[in-house]
Symmetry: C3
Subunit: 347 residues, 3 copies
């Protein structure tokens, strides 16, 4: 994590680059490198604040701000009308969390420990929730692709907003479930009672500064997407589904891997599946609502996104169901991710 802080140097570099009109590809890389440590700082600040707010509000803050970076990046993409990139990065976050993060965690942990076990009960609750959430999110798209005809755009909007409302409601219910009716389920094993490292003032200050800087860097990143993809012959789809999720989640990813190496596989899996759930139940609906401010975005995923989502959910449910992991399972998850990535690259 300390190594990550070194990347903060890319904030001034990217700002200088913006003024000196660096090439889009360079600007994309600089902004990406700057966002990674900022997302980490934001997560750290949120966690510090949660020490002062008590566990319930703290849990809510952690859950809700956990994907703030992706929300900010997507907001700017939305503003630019890059709907393809926004939707691809929603699907890409889920794939990345389930295949890349979980795969890397299981491999890293499995190289140190022969077999790692995790609390099957908790993971089954999340993974079955993920199944429901992905099915709910996908149904309008599946029906639309099957129909093949052109429904009136206004109907899609209505359906998208309806699904978004249902998702947000389920999200609120799930927080109520986690923090009120079934909170005892979530007393994770040997959660050490830590003290806050930062003062509340400092935490809030860091949170605000990080948010502002992420917004600035996201604008750099998003404006570079189109000219960069043209220059390099990449598809914006590939950028959305592979690159942006990696940038937005890098901090969280490294936490998951570190936890796996510490043999806390429960935490790694909860990060991966929980983060996917937040993307679907919170980030996606919020983006649908925000899009109403500009041009309404439909919730209709394309077929590649659908397939990737379904594959991820099947694998997450399979992985959850045996309560154990080993290095070979990690390798297999990574292999599926690479095959998906390679296919997208060629497409």
């Amino acid at each position: 994590m300390k190594f990550m802080k070194l990347l903060l140097i890319f904030i001034p570099i990217s700002i200088v680059g913006e003024f000196l009109h660096f090439s889009p590809t360079i600007m994309f890389i600089l902004a990406a490198l700057a966002i990674v440590p900022l997302a980490g700082l934001m997560g750290e600040a949120t966690e510090e604040i949660s020490y002062y707010t008590g566990p319930k509000l703290g849990g809510f803050l952690n859950a809700t701000f956990g994907n703030a970076t992706e929300l900010i990046i997507s907001f700017f993409a939305l503003k630019e009308g890059l709907f393809d990139v926004v939707k691809a990065s929603i699907a890409g976050s889920v794939i990345g969390n389930i295949l890349l993060v979980l795969g890397a965690s299981m491999l890293a942990g499995g190289l140190k420990f022969k077999t790692q076990t995790f609390n099957k009960k908790i993971v089954e609750v999340s993974s079955s929730m993920l199944l429901f959430a992905v099915i709910g999110l996908s149904i309008p798209a599946i029906f639309t692709h099957t129909l093949k005809s052109e429904l009136l755009n206004t109907q899609y909007e209505g359906l998208s907003v309806a699904v978004a409302v249902i998702m947000i409601i389920i999200y609120l219910f799930s927080l109520y479930f986690n923090f009120f009716t079934h909170k005892d389920l979530y007393v994770l094993n040997d959660e050490e009672q830590r003290e806050a490292n930062w003062s509340l003032k400092k935490s809030i200050f860091v949170l605000i500064v990080a948010t502002v800087l992420i917004a600035i860097e996201s604008e750099f990143l998003v404006s570079a997407v189109e000219p960069m993809t043209e220059a390099l012959g990449l598809s914006t789809f590939f950028v959305g589904i592979i690159l942006i999720p990696i940038i937005g989640n890098a901090a969280e990813h490294s936490t998951a891997v570190v936890m796996a190496i510490k043999n806390k596989m429960d935490v790694s899996i909860e990060i991966a599946i929980g983060s996917s759930l937040q993307i679907i139940l919170f980030v996606a609906p919020v983006l649908i609502f925000l899009s109403l401010l500009f041009t309404p975005m439909s919730i209709i995923f394309n077929e590649f996104e659908l397939i990737s989502l379904v594959v991820s959910v099947l694998i997450a449910n399979r992985v959850a169901s045996d309560g154990e992991s080993n290095w070979l399972e990690g390798v297999q998850l990574l292999a599926v991710y690479f095959i998906i990535g390679a296919s997208f690259f060629i497409i």
Copy 2:
């Protein structure tokens, strides 16, 4: 259940309505309201008869007459050539049982009990049987849609009849399994030894009268479908997949919810999954055979039906696999049902 008996008043009202040529929409509603308590009475009568026949024949009667109402409604739809409605209501019964009935049961039960457990072993047997049954029923349709070409109708017929024969054979085998080779598996927890409430004569009398009245009301209902959908701008597909299954299964549904509130989640799940199984293994094949009397109906479901079936089965299997339920799981099942319903409504 007593409230339901009040609905019997709609039998004379609907008959009067038929003579006074009420509008189709009104007639549809009246007939629907009349069928609900009749289906309940029929179930009660069958159960009473089973006290006299001994458990084996009784179990067979319960299993086979459990979906008699749907069979009768579908028979009249078949006679009118409303194949779309018939097939939609087969798929709709499965979706309704798995998502609506199970969701409502888990929600209602979960509001009273924090976590409800059920016998994983029994539920896994049924849910894996449901997986096989849905796969078997869907394969001809999946291949046909993939093929996209127009096979000769006679080939579809042959394939449909072949699949129907296989389904019925599996159905008979499964009764043999339940009542002979593995009947000890089905000694449900604390099944209280009840006495019959009705005499055998009365039971048979009620069964016959209810069947005749259901047949009359089904004819009212089915003849109202086409003019009603035209008048209201609904699709017959929506009527078939959402409305008819709710009408045909209302009595059973309320039993499932009542059982969940009594913390007998095993029974609720067996009603939901068992009823789905009977629809696929018994009702669907019988309808294929009956259609040979009129115009042969193929077993080729459309893509929406297929997707809904697959989604229901995946969810049923997921739900079964952890042996526990809570209110949030119920909410999620209902949410998926509403999203499917809303999508069908728009389509």
Copy 3:
């Protein structure tokens, strides 16, 4: 197994038939009947050799030569450019193993024993590996069919070779997992310590002779495919997906059923799932590599093959997850196989 040896008589008969220019249908049947016992002999010889090499190298030999017959048949089909037959027989082997072999084993075993249990842990490892392998193998095809456009052939080749390389790497990793890092997982229950029946010399001699004869018979078989299908009005696809896998796996199949009757359901399931895994992770990639010697074959399965693969994997995972089997489960697996077979026959 002794009965099988009688079939060796078809080796000279088929050679005579070749010289006397028997009809292709007769030649196909003769070659098929000759291959069945040869595949059995080859398996026996490999197992005998493994007593001399020690368990690790022996395990590797068994795993790698287990599907040698299919590899040889496919090699000749490849040489003749019958890509459809090759790909169909890859998919068909997986379907056959999961539905036909497992179904027959569970039925045969279930008729003798009420409920058969197996080691859930081992089977879950294999079945989840099968899930990953099938997903990996299918992704390029799924994306391609979704795309519907015509990618340049060279891109398919690149993607196919890349996927083949990943599969082979996973295969090697899985051997390393089985024989080194997690070999204790695979100490099967009460594996009796047997002695070798044959001398090492004899074993190697039998292996070589069987391999040569299988090659000769495979050439007969493959050259008969096209004229036979034309004469009988069958599709080469049907031959590839149903007939060839049965011929290539008959010896293994009978072992699985025999083991089930001996109540060693673990072994039966490991044969079925393990053999499917070897087909996907070893045989398919090797065929892709071999095809580079002639005309490069892409790894793009058609939609029927994909659906069949997905269905098989879902069922394998479902079956694995409860750790028990009974005769009804066997009947259901066989029913799905027959419905798939009937659909292919009509198509």
